[in-house]
Amino acid sequence: MSGNPLDKRYAVLGAMLIAPTVLIFCAVIIYPLVSALYLSLFTIFTPTLRGNFIGLGNYAYLANSPEFWRSLWNTLLWTVCTLTLQIVFGVAAALMLHQNIVFRSLARSLILFPYFVSTVVAVLVWRWLFNDLYGVMNHLMLMAGLIKMPLDWLGSMPNAMISIILVGAWKYFPFVVIAVLARLQTIPDALYEAAKIDGAGAWSRFVDITLPQLRDVLVVVVLLRAIWDFKEFDLIYLLTGGGPIIATQTLPLMVYKDAFGLNDMGRASAVAVSMMLVMLSFMVLYLKLAGRGERESQR
């Protein structure tokens, strides 16, 4: 392979083709990433962008800050709850849409739509649904006799946390649906036929055939969604703004608030870096799995 002048020329051509990508990556991803680590060692006043080196001072401050720990807790709570709902509803909806129902492709489009619609649109619609005086949610629940007084969906606890978890589940469960649906279509029918002959009921067919077949895709989906839910900003910021007070404030919202509300860019960077450290374990796990899948598919 080496020594052949053609191979060498090809390698140069390959490098030239990837060069724009590498340059852009260095300028807008690698440099900012390193810069974020560096910024977190300073205290920087945002409007003037002046500041002093304080070493690990920001991190020491965060370790003793109840607000940081509360935000971390909120992030974990939101991620676990909304992710669980996404998986449960996603798998159920995928199984449902896998069956022969009338106008199936229209049904699929309607289910997928929330995932592709802008978060801004989703939030506006839900804020209108949650409206305390004229919102449909309160009206329906009053009519059904579930509540006696209209609820304050976004302005009080624990309602605000429950609301963002529900809207998050609604917005992102279609991702699970698409991934699972694609996998379901590749499970051979013969497996089900054989199980039927052996006298397996619908439930045991689901547990013994469908679930094991879905396992790999579910692991990947859970990891990806966990990473994306953990760093979610738009949906929570626009629904509650982190309120009431800091009851629904997650780490990404704390970064934004510290940088542009409290004007301390150094501390905001420290929060962002800490957040990334927590996420890193998930990211490494996903990279490992993806790498394994690659090698298998190349075999």
């Binding site: 390959g14 991803i29 309607l110 978060t119 209108w128 990947v220 989906v221 990279l287």
Partner: protein
């Protein structure tokens, strides 16, 4: 589901679930065509008693909505073109060429695809201020490449891995150079993948909120996402029917893509790293 009755019951159940899921979006459309006073009816009416498009005309003539829309279109198309061109060349290189560091590079692409934008946003903000291009659409195009480029590269790489090596080899035997083989053989084969990637990139750029919130502070460069939200915040009393009309208008490109190009969306999904 052997019996007819069982089949009908299942269909009814399935469609109830679908309609409940889609209800917020149906409600958005219905609200946008109701006259303002009908919104404050208790109990609320489901079908509008009277259909009106006044909110749409008001949106277009009395608010900066069209300006935001123009910005969003420029931003979406520019980002898509830049990202897809760079990513197509890059993905081709990652799939068909051998050079040291190639595998590491592919891994890095996947890693950056998972990075949270709040980590990058503060240095990027400082960078834009320093370059003197804060508050421009151009600064947003640069910022959007941070998430769109890794995504497009990864997607295109999966698509291109599906193109058999023999095709390019045959063209080379026939005397084509590698670049000619790329243009004449690989590109036509990769076209469906390129369309999928372009659609996803456009949707990502169209829907983005955080960078637009931080980097742009004037109506001249503001895209729809932050623009419409500023209409909500600045209003003295919130006009929900106007906001719902804005939401419908904002979803129009998506509705068009869903109606005509949906197969490209589902195909892109299969390739996008959720292979399992």
């Amino acid at each position: 589901m052997k019996t007819l009755a069982g089949r009908i019951a299942f269909n009814l159940f399935a469609w109830t679930v679908v309609l409940v899921t889609a209800f917020p979006l149906i409600w958005m459309i219905l609200t946008s065509v109701k006259p303002q006073f009908e919104l404050f009816r208790i109990p609320p009416t489901f079908w509008p008693e009277q259909i009106t498009f006044e909110h749409y005309t008001r949106l277009i003539y009395e608010t900066p909505f069209l300006k935001y829309m123009r910005n969003s279109l420029i931003l979406g198309f520019t980002t898509t073109i830049v990202v897809v061109v760079v990513a197509t060349l890059g993905a081709h290189s990652l799939v068909r060429f051998r050079y040291p560091g190639r595998e590491r590079l592919a891994q890095m692409v996947l890693f950056t695809y998972l990075l949270p934008s709040v980590v990058l946003i503060l240095p990027l903000y400082l960078m834009m201020v320093w370059l003197g291009i804060a508050n421009t659409i151009f600064s947003l195009v640069i910022a959007y490449t941070t998430f769109a480029l890794p995504y497009a590269l990864w997607l295109l790489r999966s698509f291109m891995q599906g193109i058999p090596d023999d095709l390019e080899a045959a063209a080379l035997v026939d005397g084509a150079t590698r670049m000619e083989a790329f243009v004449d053989v690989i590109l036509p084969q990769a076209l469906p993948g390129i369309i999928s990637t372009s659609l996803f990139t456009f949707i990502l750029a169209w829907n983005e909120y955080l960078y637009a919130l931080v980097l742009v502070n004037t109506d001249e460069a503001r895209p729809l996402t932050t623009g419409v939200m500023s209409m909500l915040v600045s209003a003295f009393n919130i006009e929900w029917s106007l906001l719902m009309a804005a939401s419908v208008m904002m979803s129009l490109p998506l509705i068009i893509i869903f109606a005509f190009l949906q197969k490209y969306l589902t195909r892109g999904f299969g390739a996008g790293g959720v292979k399992g």
